[in-house]
């Protein structure tokens, strides 16, 4: 109990207040199986609650996480999702870094186009995740894996 309240005090001392007693240190989640996809969704949902997101923003971020994690699992042969809690002038945010060591994306602009798919989805994953988040970065090359970093800021 003492430790929990210490964490709360530390959070209050920061630029913004996350829910008391909840750690905001980055966490890394493996994506190697279907069960892992569910676990990632749960972890991201918990993180959006911690960051104080509205129910619509929670839904946006968890949906984007689901799309990106599934991409890493299906196209990248598995990977990791890192959840971070950035801060922008006191506005809490949530950043997801989805990394895989798969074949990479040879034609990025095609992959970002709605309706483009090489797998079993609808081809809205990458472009859709981009629209659901405030910031979107992708680092990929043929044969060098793919890293997608997305951030959403809590509206205050």
């Amino acid at each position: 109990m003492t430790q929990a309240s210490d964490v709360g005090t530390a959070a209050r001392g920061g630029a913004h207040v996350y829910e008391e007693g909840c750690p905001t240190t980055p966490t890394v989640h493996e994506v190697r199986s279907e069960e892992d996809l569910l676990a990632v969704r749960h972890a991201v949902r918990a993180a959006t609650l911690r960051a104080g997101f509205s129910i619509v923003d929670q839904t946006r971020v968890v949906t984007a996480a689901s799309e990106l994690a599934r991409n890493a699992y299906v196209h990248g042969g598995g990977g990791t999702v890192t959840i971070e809690f950035p801060d922008r002038n006191g506005t809490p945010g949530l950043r997801l870094t989805v990394r895989d060591d798969g074949p990479g994306i040879p034609d990025l602009s095609a992959a970002l186009t709605d309706g483009f798919t090489t797998g079993a989805g609808l081809g809205h994953g990458l472009g859709g995740a981009r629209r659901l988040m405030d910031e979107f970065e992708i680092d990929t090359a043929a044969g060098q894996g793919t890293t997608v970093t997305v951030t959403r800021w809590a509206v205050r």
């Binding site: 839904t59 968890v62 949906t63 689901s66 799309e67 079993a120 609808l122 859709g128 629209r131 659901l132």
Partner: protein, 136 residues
């Protein structure tokens, strides 16, 4: 007849309508199994309508959207009409932003309105005691 399906939600038959739902924990394997089970039940139960309650779904990603669209098309090919009922407002907002419109999927605000669209109407409850044994 109404044992829990592969999806964890029973498929109930009410007249010529099958009533079922999706849980939040839908993964690829259970989605495929659910599709197979529901299409089989449409045939064996000679269903003309299917109500799928999605009020438990906290998100619909492109995989679940695709499952719903395919289910609707398969059921239509078998002669049954599907209504997807109870989508949460944040899910509707997110789906549109994602670029998905669930084209071809008929929807209803909730299960009750969905059932009405499939031809079911509320009838007043019978007066209390009407079915009691009166032989005494």
């Amino acid at each position: 007849m109404s044992s829990a399906s592969s999806n964890g939600v029973p498929i109930l038959r009410l007249g010529d309508v099958l009533v079922t739902g999706l849980l939040n924990e839908l993964d690829d394997k259970s989605a495929i199994a659910f599709t197979e089970e529901l299409t089989a039940r449409i045939t064996t139960d000679r269903a003309r309508g299917v109500l799928i309650d999605i009020s438990r779904l906290e998100i619909i990603d492109s995989f679940v959207a695709r499952t719903l669209m395919e289910l609707t098309t398969m059921a239509r090919l078998l002669g049954a009409r599907v209504i997807v009922a109870g989508m949460r407002p944040p899910v509707a907002i997110t789906l549109v932003e994602l670029g998905l419109q669930l084209t071809g999927v008929e929807t209803a605000l909730n299960a009750e309105q969905g059932m009405t669209a499939l031809g079911w109407h509320r009838v007043p409850a019978p007066p209390e005691g009407v079915m009691r044994d009166t032989s005494q």
